[in-house]
């Protein structure tokens, strides 16, 4: 069964990719969607078998031996435990819905088989990542999703901005992947194996050991964990390595929903959770995770408030929510983090697909300043978006309410410095989340339409094939929190997670259930304040934003320009690297190496060749002379010198 879940998308991808021409657009859609539906259904079966049934049901499924080189042994194998099962459900469900949605959304694209093939390829790589039982296979999946992400962001390869965004995503991810790879090397060096089981069982014996590296004495496990976390930062777009995510919105909207909201970007969260046995013995690393996560949550929320591109707003929102997950991990609330990952997948995919529906309806317009008043024209999409927004902002009894509030409470309950930091920023971010989410809804669906006449005439509700996935996701966004909170973070915590998550000390979530009332109420209040502010700014007093911007010019500029991250990076890395490269290219390569190396040699060869050519005059007596000169030279050699 597990082989089927993992490899069916690969098979579908290969069929659609290699034989797309033969089976046609419809064939490619049927094959990939069919494969994903089967995988998704089987994933839910697996989820019920592994996670919901009482007791420990973790499985190890061997597929084949991969690398055998000296002491280094790696197998293709699946480790199926609760964590994997949850991820399977998330990945396959969202992926399946996105596949179906894409049938409608991409219906006018000339390269449907390629798109479907990439989507399935991504799914396969993601499954490889989450099912692996060792770091190497995980890295394979990790790079695989990176590749698929690159291909899909640059899917419209004729658009220069899409290509640039694809390259940016790839390059920024390289930085993270480098850290991850170093982490894996360090793990192999330390533990002599890359298998999770071996590494996690040996971890205690390496706690508090240190390594020497260029004169510094570093705590071994902290170093490993921070390296791994750098990988996670790249993939999950955490502060510093987040710049690629908003640009990745150049890809088709289903891609944004699948890869850049629900699945790939959560790989970092998953990885840290998977490595909880390591991180638990590296408290310093956990603090770093917590600080980075909280900062990201806050930072991304501030940027989200001032953006106008509907997809970018959601992208920053994703960034921010990922920050929540990380600081949850940082305070040890692994269950809460994964729970938020789970619920977030539903409502964020819903928001993305909804925004796709909006974009689709308004003739590929993404700027919210050119929208407005769509509520009556596309009511289904409006309601779906509203549900998603309610879930995101944490409206009581929607999915986000359970998971996000739990995270904030856990941060408070940790009673540590970084925990308090995270709590404060988390509440602030919740307020801003509420503000920008409702701002999005108000700007898009309420008020007068600001679109051009042609676009207005053209606005239409999306076809059923796009709406059905929205219904399914909306259902998840409404009930996922209520139904599963007991298992993920509540009373069945121990039973549910079993061995898949590790805690060295106290369970912070136990404490989180017993925090003061004001702490419990604070996210809700923040949400309400955010909503009211948004309502005031965009419904009641539409001139307010302009005045606000005029007053707080600096704050707005900072937010609007994404805290100048792109500009700083451009100056620090891109420009200087270009300049350095230019110097090496012009001075080093062309003027020194080429001039005296290849070019010099080839020029010399041509000169010699011309001389040789000139020897061949065509005159008979020259030839005869040449022969005689040669002969007499040989003879002289022997007569005079040879003897």
């Amino acid at each position: 069964m597990y082989q089927t879940i993992v490899f069916l998308p690969l098979v579908a991808s290969l069929i659609a990719g290699l034989f797309g021409r033969q089976i046609g657009d419809r064939g490619a859609q049927v094959v990939t969607c069919g494969a994903l539906i089967i995988s998704a259904v089987l994933s839910w079966v697996a989820f019920f078998q592994i996670a919901l049934a009482p007791g420990d049901h973790a499985l190890n499924v061997q597929v084949l031996s991969w690398i055998v080189s000296g002491d280094f042994n790696v197998n293709w194998a699946f480790q199926i435990d609760t964590l994997t099962a949850v991820m399977l459900v998330v990945v396959n469900t969202v992926s399946c819905l996105v596949h179906i949605y894409s049938v409608g959304y991409m219906s006018h694209d000339p390269h449907i088989p390629r798109f479907m093939s990439y989507l399935s390829l991504f799914t396969f790589a993601m499954l490889m990542l989450i099912t692996s039982n060792n770091f190497v296979q995980m890295f394979f999946g990790w790079e695989g999703v990176g590749l698929a992400s690159y291909l899909l962001i640059g899917f419209w390869y004729k658009k220069p901005s899409a290509c640039a965004a694809a390259i940016k995503a790839f390059v920024v991810n390289r930085v993270g992947d480098f850290g991850f790879a170093l982490g894996i090397f360090a793990i192999f060096m330390t533990f002599g194996s890359a298998d999770f089981s071996v590494v996690f069982s040996d971890v205690t014996s390496y706690a508090d050991q240190s390594i020497h590296f260029i004169g510094m004495e570093l705590d071994l496990l902290t170093t490993i964990c921070i390296l791994l976390f750098i990988g996670a930062m790249g993939k999950s777009a955490q502060l510093g390595l987040h710049t690629w995510l908003p640009d990745a919105m150049e890809g088709p909207t289903p891609v944004s929903a699948l890869i850049h909201a629900a699945t790939m970007v959560t790989a970092g969260v998953f990885m840290v959770a998977r490595c909880s046995p390591l991180f638990e013995y590296a408290p310093a690393a956990l603090e770093v995770v917590c600080i980075i996560g909280a900062s990201t949550a806050f930072f991304a929320a501030t940027v989200g408030m001032s953006q106008f591109d509907i997809k970018r707003v959601i992208a920053y929102s994703t960034c921010s929510q990922l920050g929540y997950m990380f600081f949850a991990l940082g305070v040890g609330a692994y269950g809460a983090a994964i729970f938020h990952l789970f619920t977030h997948a539903f409502f964020k995919a819903l928001l993305f697909l909804g925004s796709g529906s909006v974009i689709h309806a308004s003739s590929d317009e993404q700027d919210m300043r050119n929208m407005g008043g769509l509520r009556t024209k596309i009511p289904v999409t409006f309601w779906m978006m509203t549900i998603g927004t309610l879930a995101l902002t944490g409206f009581p009894f929607f999915a986000g309410y359970y998971s996000k509030d739990m995270i904030i409470e856990a941060a408070y309950a940790a009673h540590t410095g970084v925990g308090s930091y995270a709590f404060g920023l988390g509440v602030a971010a919740a307020l801003m989340t509420s503000f920008y989410s409702w701002r999005l809804v108000f700007m898009t669906f309420f008020g007068e339409s600001r679109a051009s006449k042609e676009v207005q005439d053209h606005v239409h509700e999306s076809p059923q094939v796009m709406l059905i996935p929205l219904y399914v996701l909306a259902l998840g966004a409404v009930v996922a929190g209520y139904v599963f909170s007991g298992y993920f973070i509540g009373d069945h915590y121990e039973d549910f997670w079993a061995e898949s998550l590790f805690l060295a000390g106290e369970n912070v979530m136990e404490a989180a259930h017993h925090v003061p009332t004001w702490v419990v109420a604070s996210p809700f209040i923040a949400m309400v304040v955010g909503f009211v502010t948004a309502w005031y700014f965009y419904i009641k007093e539409p001139s307010m934003p302009g005045r606000f911007v005029a007053t707080f010019r600096f704050a707005h500029a900072l937010s609007f320009n994404k805290w100048y991250f792109d500009e700083i990076y451009d100056i620090l890395f891109v420009k200087s690297a270009m300049k350095l490269g230019y110097i090496f290219w012009k001075r080093g390569d062309e003027n020194i190496i080429d001039r005296y190396g290849p070019d010099g040699v080839s020029a010399a060869v041509v000169r010699v060749a011309e001389k040789f050519k000139a020897l061949q005059t065509g005159y008979l007596y020259h030839y005869a002379f040449a022969m005689l000169i040669g002969l007499s030279a040989f003879v002289s050699w022997f007569v005079l010198g040879g003897q």
């Binding site: 007596y621 002379f625 005689l628 002969l631 007499s632 003879v635 002289s636 007569v639």
Partner: protein, 203 residues
């Protein structure tokens, strides 16, 4: 003594006329000098007791080859002075090479020693001239020991003949040739035709 004097006379004239072949301005003179050189070479062969070779040289080279050269030179109007124009440019290097080779040959000849084996090997090849005539001696080996080379020489001549025909022979139109077969085969009906001419119409 007489032999020695004769040898030097022949040899001097031979070398002298060979030089004149190259340097005389008139090509006809060159060919004539060539003939003179052949005659002297034949004389040298006679001195060696190789009268057959001497006669062959006179008959074939003088009688056939040199005479043909003469024909060719006289028939073709070639401006030899024009051809020789560039000689001055190449004369120094040509002379240098010639001189070097000559000097080396002298050095080699100076160092020539005969080992015993060589002397016997050389003499066994030919029967003593007093016992058998030249022609007889050549005949004895030509069709036995050297039959292979003899046949090959025949083939080479065949190739030369084919070559000459291939490169020069052309079928020309309008050349009358006697074909006896055609003449014999000719019938009365081929020769004439009776035409019934209508009065007043002409043929």
């Amino acid at each position: 003594m007489v032999t020695a004097i004769t040898f030097y006379i022949f040899a001097t004239i031979l070398v002298g006329s060979a030089i004149m072949v190259v340097f005389s301005k008139n090509p006809v003179h060159s060919v004539l000098f060539l003939i003179l050189a052949f005659f002297n070479a034949a004389g040298l062969f006679v001195l060696l007791g190789a009268e057959f070779v001497a006669m062959i040289l006179v008959i074939v080279y003088v009688g056939a080859v040199a005479v043909m050269f003469l024909f060719v030179v006289m028939m073709l109007d070639i401006n030899f002075t024009e051809l020789r124009k560039g000689v001055q440019d190449y004369l120094p290097i040509g002379l240098l090479i010639g001189f070097i080779l000559l000097a080396e040959m002298v050095i080699i000849a100076g160092g020539w020693t005969m080992t015993d084996g060589i002397a016997t090997a050389m003499t066994t090849a030919t029967p003593p001239a007093s016992e058998v005539t030249n022609t007889d001696a050549i005949g004895r080996v030509l069709y036995t020991d050297y039959i292979f080379l003899f046949q090959l020489a025949g083939l080479i001549l065949l190739v030369a003949m084919i070559g000459a025909i291939v490169l020069t022979h052309r079928k020309r139109d309008g050349v009358k040739k006697q074909n006896i077969g055609d003449q014999v085969r000719r019938r009365r009906s081929d020769a004439y035709e009776a035409v019934d001419v209508k009065p007043g119409s002409g043929i």
